[in-house]
């Protein structure tokens, strides 16, 4: 199998001439054919390369932070360097890894395939969005190389505008630029899903992943411009001395926080809705069962996207706001938990009496459900004002949002990556290693972040490089967990790269999954399909309607046929 392996042998058309069109990977090998491509699948690969790079940059910063926190004293880093490292970690992970992670890699690759389209609606815009992302990322990395930023990823004024002497403007411009890449992606996905669905692919036959991408895109389009304005105001105040938020001249720094969180709270849902989409696909496939309550899963996604726009104030309970406003924001933050809980119950309902297999993608998905539940429930603590006042700015908050953003979203990203890896690359990876990494990631994650709940509840504040010695036990546990987690993240980098070179060729549908993306070759040709897909039924046709799956569920024909 692997005798002819070479980097370009990924999809070697000479190996077995079936007179099929060449795969998208073999359709041109020059650098130009990649950097000027308008193929949504190749752009997905370009994004995957850049976000992997950013993931490990952000991860390296986190590693140094955890190393410093292993002891109560400052022994590895000075306070200043520590501030710059956690800022770097936050900025890179949020804007250059998590936000583009699932939408721009898996989403770019899969949305046209799943709806039976040849490409996204605006292929050139899709490529431009990648260049905007790389441009913004380069500015942020340049700021890092020139000396870093110490404001934290939130760029709160007046510190960021009046006091900080670091490269704030450059970093902020980097984030500003990459915001337009998000908007471009959002416009593209919305138009693609509206206009390019295959005949028969009605809205309520769309796979849940596509629905997740649709709702995420709405947030991209409607939330990101507010961030752009907020960042523009910071740059204007810092660089041109235009005092919008300056309290000395009657400005209001809390207004910055409102504008910032109007974007950044929906941004949390930008990170987790795609993850929910991925996990819905994985759980239904590996339990060989139709997804439980498909329509309610759709309504839940839409409800989260809508309500998610109106909960931003819960980041500001201690910043000073009217008690009535706080009450409304608290209530809405509880309300947004309802559709999230519906999704968890429906995933559980899908697993119930399913023929659950334990391949690596479902291990990641099950990990997601557990971590998302814990992160979501602790979110309810924080939505309740008295508890929030107690744990505001402590490690409790840090643990909570890492459970959602890292535990849930990153697990789902890895799950999706393993699930669609054979489709994307045409190769299979070593399953044993993958299962081991999935389990290690779950335990490493909990070891890292669960102790932070306790330390935070006991009162350890975030963003300090020294702390009272009584918190050391929790920090040592956390740092040990970070080491485990680092290994778990590096392992896929190793065996997935190995699989590109030496992995066995993947079949067209290795998981016996439904869905149009499995109705084409692995990897797909430039045209995506060998004919024009027509869709004849709803998604997740793993067993007949109204009948529970039986033991040794037979593999039914898929959602659509090719001609």
């Amino acid at each position: 199998m692997s005798t002819t392996a070479s980097p370009t042998g990924l999809a070697d058309p000479d190996e077995l001439d079936l007179r099929l069109p060449v795969s998208y990977l073999a359709d041109g090998h020059s650098v130009r054919s990649w950097l000027l491509t308008t193929d949504h699948k190749r752009i997905a690969i370009l994004y995957a390369v850049t976000i992997t790079l950013f993931f490990f940059i952000g991860g390296a910063a986190a590693t140094l932070v955890r190393l410093e926190l292993a002891t109560p004293e400052a022994d590895v880093l000075r306070a200043d360097t520590y501030n710059k490292l956690f800022t770097l970690h936050g900025v890179v992970m949020v804007w250059f890894f998590l936000i583009p992670s699932i939408p721009n890699t898996l989403g770019n690759f899969l949305v046209p395939l799943m709806i039976g389209a040849r490409d996204v609606a605006y292929p050139k815009l899709n490529l431009i969005s990648w260049y905007l992302n790389v441009g913004g990322g380069s500015l942020a990395v340049a700021a890092l190389l020139l000396g870093g930023v110490d404001t934290g990823w939130t760029f709160y004024v007046p510190y960021s505008t009046v006091f900080s002497n670091t490269w704030v403007s450059l970093t902020v411009l980097g984030v500003f630029t990459t915001g337009f890449s998000s908007i471009a992606t959002g416009v593209n996905f919305i138009a693609t899903i509206h206009l390019l669905r295959a005949p028969g692919m009605t809205w309520f036959r769309l796979p849940l992943f596509v629905w997740a991408m649709y709702t995420t895109s709405l947030m991209f389009v409607l939330a990101t411009p507010v961030l752009a304005v907020t960042l523009l105001l910071v740059v204007a105040e810092r660089t041109f001395g235009l005092p919008i938020f300056d309290p000395a001249r009657g400005g209001d720094p809390v207004l910055f926080q409102h504008l910032f969180w109007f974007y950044s709270h929906p941004a949390v849902y930008i990170m987790v809705l795609p993850a929910m989409g991925v996990v819905s696909e994985l759980i239904t496939c590996f339990s060989r069962r139709k997804v439980f309550g498909y329509t309610f899963m759709v309504y839940a996604l839409v409800a989260i996207a809508v309500i998610g726009f109106f909960t931003w104030g819960h980041h500001m309970f201690t910043s000073g706001m009217s008690p009535y406003a706080a009450l409304v924001f608290s209530f809405l933050s509880f309300v947004v938990a309802v559709p999230s809980a519906i999704k968890v119950f429906n995933w559980t309902g899908t697993l119930y009496r399913g023929q659950v297999g334990f391949e690596s993608p479902i291990l990641y998905a099950l990990g997601f459900v557990g971590l998302f539940t814990l992160g979501g429930l602790t979110g309810l603590f924080l939505a309740s004002i008295p508890i929030d006042v107690h744990v505001q700015d402590t490690y409790f908050v840090v643990a909570h949002f890492h459970y959602i953003m890292v535990g849930a979203s990153v697990s789902a990203y890895f799950g999706g990556l393993h699930f669609w890896w054979p489709k994307i690359t045409g190769r299979t990876y070593p399953e044993t290693w993958a299962r081991f990494a999935a389990i290690l990631m779950f335990f490493g994650f909990n070891l890292t972040f669960f102790p932070q709940f306790i330390a935070g509840y006991l009162g350890m504040p975030r963003r300090y490089h020294v702390y009272p010695p009584e918190f050391q036990i929790w920090n040592v546990l956390s740092s040990a967990g970070a080491a485990v987690l680092a290994v778990a993240y590096l392992m896929p980098l190793g065996y997935l790269t190995w699989s590109l070179l030496f992995g066995e060729r993947a079949t067209n549908n290795p998981w016996d999954a439904t869905g149009l993306e499995w109705r084409t070759s692995s990897p797909p040709p430039r045209q995506n399909f060998f004919g024009s897909p027509r869709v004849q039924g709803g998604p997740y046709n793993y067993h007949p309607e109204g009948v529970a799956p039986i033991h040794d569920q037979p593999r039914l024909p898929s959602q659509g046929s090719l001609t």
Partner: protein, 234 residues
């Protein structure tokens, strides 16, 4: 969608529909005329979504202004009296007229019958846009001479008046950047339309440019009362 299709559908037998189809619309399993109609609809749909994004962009700026003005009403009134209402009103008239010429150009191109009218109106639109920028330039010079730039030498005593002028400079520059992009897009249409007689005919790019142009105008319609009218009533 279907009604838009019918409306946007070009007459059958258009000679170069096939040449104008682009990916991914060229691969749709329909005849070229329908595919072209969907490509047109797709372009318009995309710009509407982008405009929704722009509305949130300017909406956030307007919100910032509103919050600051509510907190500092007297200073904002004093600052508003310092702006030059003659230039502001003139520019409002210029920009609204440019929307008219842009709308005529867009309709003429869609009918596909009036090439010279289309080109003429596009040229008038770009010229009016440039005129706006020129007037704005004179206004900026006067503002700088009157020390209306926030900072140590600011003309007004009230500190919050600086916030008004911070907003003034930021939002007019952002608007001018948008307008310059619009002028660039219109100029591009003129250049291509002059070279290729069939370029503008039924081309969705004209409508897309027009929609963007109208948004930039509409933003100014909000900016005019916000920047020039405070403190001037009674």
């Amino acid at each position: 969608m279907s009604s838009a299709d019918v409306e946007a559908r070009p007459r059958e037998g258009h000679p170069d529909i096939e040449a104008r189809l682009r990916e991914p619309w060229s691969d749709l399993e329909t005849d070229h005329a329908t595919a072209f109609a969907r490509q047109r609809a797709g372009a318009t749909f995309g710009i509407w979504i982008f405009l929704a994004s722009e509305v949130l962009f300017f909406g956030a700026l307007f919100l910032t202004y509103t919050a600051a003005r509510l907190a500092n009403q007297e200073a904002f009134a004093a600052a508003g009296r310092e702006t030059n209402i003659v230039y502001g009103t003139l520019n409002t008239a210029i920009l609204l007229t440019s929307s008219l010429t842009m709308a005529v150009a867009s309709q003429a191109a869609e009918k596909g019958l009036f090439r010279r009218l289309t080109l003429g109106c596009l040229a008038a639109t770009a010229a009016l846009g440039l005129a706006f920028l020129v007037v704005k330039g004179f206004e900026y010079r006067e503002d700088i001479e009157k020390h209306l730039v926030p900072g140590a030498h600011f003309a007004l005593a009230q500190a919050p008046a600086q916030i008004f002028f911070a907003f003034y400079w930021l939002v007019t520059v952002v608007h001018a950047i948008h307008l310059s992009i619009g002028i660039g897009l219109v100029t591009r249409l003129i250049a291509k339309g002059r070279r290729d007689p069939d370029f503008l005919k039924e081309n969705p790019q004209v409508e897309v440019t027009a929609l963007y142009w109208h948004l930039v105008d509409l933003v100014w319609v909000f900016l005019y009362p916000m920047l020039y009218l405070p403190g001037r009533s009674g």
